[in-house]
């Protein structure tokens, strides 16, 4: 999963490249997204994992141009992303969004075939209606909906899972290099979630589309993603190949997250973090954002922001890295604390 497909055409650079991106909302004392560097390579699925308020959706919205960064550089296919509100004319959008709320993101009064056609026409100005209709039919078939049966239906006649498939088909109509999927399965019934995730994997494998998968669920991230990026309070606290982050989370917050995910079997290893009390006062913006919740925080953690330190081999597709002052000693600290607790 983490190896690069050598049959794919040589690609010069990453599909998505964020450099030093910060987003401040007008009244926020603490940045929603803070100095984030992030790349999504060609034909890769990158999962952006974090709790609500971690900045993951804000990041996704900046990639498609729905939000403007306060500072920093957002590029898709090496081109700077132009915010939607400043776009003068229609043109193919290389980054397309699939939303969590499938109910709210489709037009209830228009049949779904037509909605996909419109998406195609807005990114392919000058194309004929017939071409759009043919493309919409092909896309419906691609996401597993027979166009003869479904093209004329309205969103109300579809199940949640079918609507999410339509959302994906509509995103594909713009011939994107990357699809941003923001919690695409969290409102769906469990038995169809996996199908939608499999569809995302299919986009990567068959269409060569990259996916930025935004979720709070480490389990599903481990299911689809090549790389995992863990966000906390708007900062990247850990990143690396999915397998590595899941099997051996390094940052205290990643350990807490893994321990909280039933099914990963990391509860025992994360006990120290799971049992740490919630802070009574929120983070004040100084030092490490996790320090108020960290059982191993010391003075340095409360005053200085730790750098993102490389933990894996340099030159990996997604260089494994974590942001913690006590990264090297952490395993020993955890072991000692557990021995004390057992005694």
């Amino acid at each position: 999963m983490t190896t690069v497909d050598i049959s794919s055409p040589a690609v010069a650079g990453p599909v998505v490249a964020l450099t030093d991106v910060t987003k401040r909302y007008r009244r926020g004392a603490i940045a929603a997204v803070s100095d984030v560097d992030l790349t999504v390579g060609a034909r890769r699925i990158v999962a952006l994992v974090g709790e609500s308020g971690s900045g993951k959706s804000t990041l996704g919205r900046m990639v498609v141009g729905l939000l403007d960064p306060t500072s920093g550089d957002v590029r898709v296919d090496a081109e700077p992303v132009v915010p939607v509100k400043r776009r003068r004319r229609a043109r193919p959008r290389r980054a397309q969004m699939v939303f969590q709320d499938v109910y709210g993101s489709l037009n209830p009064s228009q049949d779904i075939g037509r909605q996909i056609e419109e998406a195609f026409l807005s990114s392919h100005p000058g194309s004929s209606r017939a071409a759009a209709r043919a493309r919409a039919a092909a896309l419906l078939a691609r996401v597993g909906l027979d166009p003869d049966l479904y093209a004329a239906r309205r969103p109300d006649d579809l199940s949640g899972g079918q609507r999410q498939r339509v959302g994906i088909a509509r995103a594909l109509a713009g011939d994107p290099s990357v699809v941003i999927a923001d919690e695409p399965i969290s409102m769906l019934d469990v038995s169809i979630r996996r199908d939608v995730l499999d569809l995302l994997v299919g986009l990567r494998d068959d269409e060569g589309v990259s996916v930025l998968y935004i979720t709070h669920d480490l389990l599903s991230a481990g299911y689809v993603a090549d790389d995992i990026v863990v966000l906390f309070r708007g900062m990247v606290v850990e990143q690396g190949p999915a397998r590595e982050v899941l099997a051996r989370p390094r940052h205290p917050y990643s350990r807490l997250l893994a321990g909280s995910s039933p099914g990963l079997g990391q509860e025992e290893r994360a006990r120290v973090f799971l049992e740490a009390p919630r802070p009574r006062t929120p983070w004040n913006g100084e030092g490490c954002p996790f320090a108020p919740r960290c059982p191993f925080a010391q003075e340095l953690c409360r005053t200085a922001l730790p750098p993102l330190t490389v933990t894996g081999r340099a030159g990996d597709a997604a260089t494994a890295a974590a942001r913690c002052h006590r990264l090297e000693e952490l395993d020993a600290l955890v072991a000692t604390r557990e021995e004390e607790a057992d005694r």
């Binding site: 999963m1 709790e51 609500s52 949640g160 019934d189 469990v190 038995s191 169809i192 979630r193 996996r194 995730l197 499999d198 994997v201 709070h216 669920d217 480490l218 389990l219 599903s220 481990g222 299911y223 689809v224 999915a242 397998r243 899941l246 807490l256 997250l257 321990g259 909280s260 995910s261 039933p262 099914g263 990963l264 509860e267 799971l274 919630r278 009574r280």
Partner: protein, 279 residues
């Protein structure tokens, strides 16, 4: 799966707090009643956490609303019995029902923002549950609001906050504090952690099982989240199309992967790391 937070139920703690017999519930439609629950049996003993698992439309929330008779029209209970500590809920007078709600059985809903009144301070709302009950029914000493908030891990001073000033997890904790106010023997929880992220989900369910251990109330937990249930439930009833298709325990489920075909499908559909490579 290990459940280190909870010790085996003591013999004294195994009284049946809820017994549902052959329950049938439907929704009135133009040409009759569309069945939503078609003959369900279920028991919850004190100290026990019983999960009702299933997907939207399976009838699990209808059962949750039937237990306390808060089911709204066009919903209608058409058959069966619901016994709360041996007393027939369906035979209770409206006055008796008001006395029983909160005091003997309480409910925690998925969206605590709608359950909590946005224009009143959280502490005042918990106070009101106690005060209203005492006014109507008299009654002894209850825990103070401060004690209740501290029990669910909220600083007592946050009682002065309005619901929108609390995080989603804190609001759900406050809703649980309110449910605990009159020391009920059963708490029904309808998707209590669905809208929350995993760290908070785990914290809240760990807290609930710890409180159960301390206070002995039974919990009927409605959820679609199988991995979470296998971690916290003592027993799991899987529902489909208004019927319980399988009743099992997390330990059994780990071995069998489900006996019923629908249970098996639910178990198999959980996206886990590495599963698609293996498939």
């Amino acid at each position: 799966m290990p459940r280190p937070d909870v010790s085996p139920a003591t013999p004294a703690a195994s009284a049946e707090v809820l017994r549902i017999d052959a329950l049938e519930v439907g929704y009135v439609v133009a040409d009759g009643v569309a069945p939503a629950v078609r003959g369900v049996d279920l028991t919850v003993r004190s100290g026990e956490l019983v999960a009702l698992a299933g997907e939207s439309g399976c009838g699990k929330s209808t059962i949750a609303q039937s237990v306390l008779r808060i089911l709204r029209p066009p919903g209608v209970i058409t058959g069966g019995r619901i016994l709360l500590e041996g007393e027939d809920v369906l035979a209770m007078s409206p006055a008796r029902l008001r006395r029983v709600r909160w005091a003997r059985a309480a409910i925690v809903m998925q969206n605590s923002l709608t359950a909590l009144d946005p224009v009143h301070r959280v502490g005042d709302q918990i106070d009101e549950v106690v005060r209203a009950h005492r006014r109507d029914h008299g009654g002894g000493r209850h825990r103070t609001t401060g004690e209740l908030l501290e029990m669910v891990g909220i600083d007592a001073r946050r009682g002065r906050d309005y619901p929108h000033e609390l995080s989603g997890g804190m609001r759900q904790r406050a809703a649980i504090a309110m449910a605990l106010a009159l020391s009920p023997s059963l708490i029904v929880m309808d998707e209590p952690t669905t809208a929350l992220d995993v760290v908070v989900q785990r914290e809240i369910l760990a807290m609930v099982t710890a409180l159960q251990h301390e206070l002995g109330f039974g919990v009927l937990l409605i959820s679609h989240d199988l991995p979470l249930l296998t971690r916290y439930a003592d027993r799991i009833a899987v529902m489909k199309d208004g019927l319980v298709v399988e009743e099992t325990t997390p330990a059994e489920l780990a071995v069998t992967g489900g006996v019923d075909s629908y249970t098996r499908r639910l178990v198999a559909s959980v996206p886990r790391p590495g599963t698609w490579e293996a498939a």
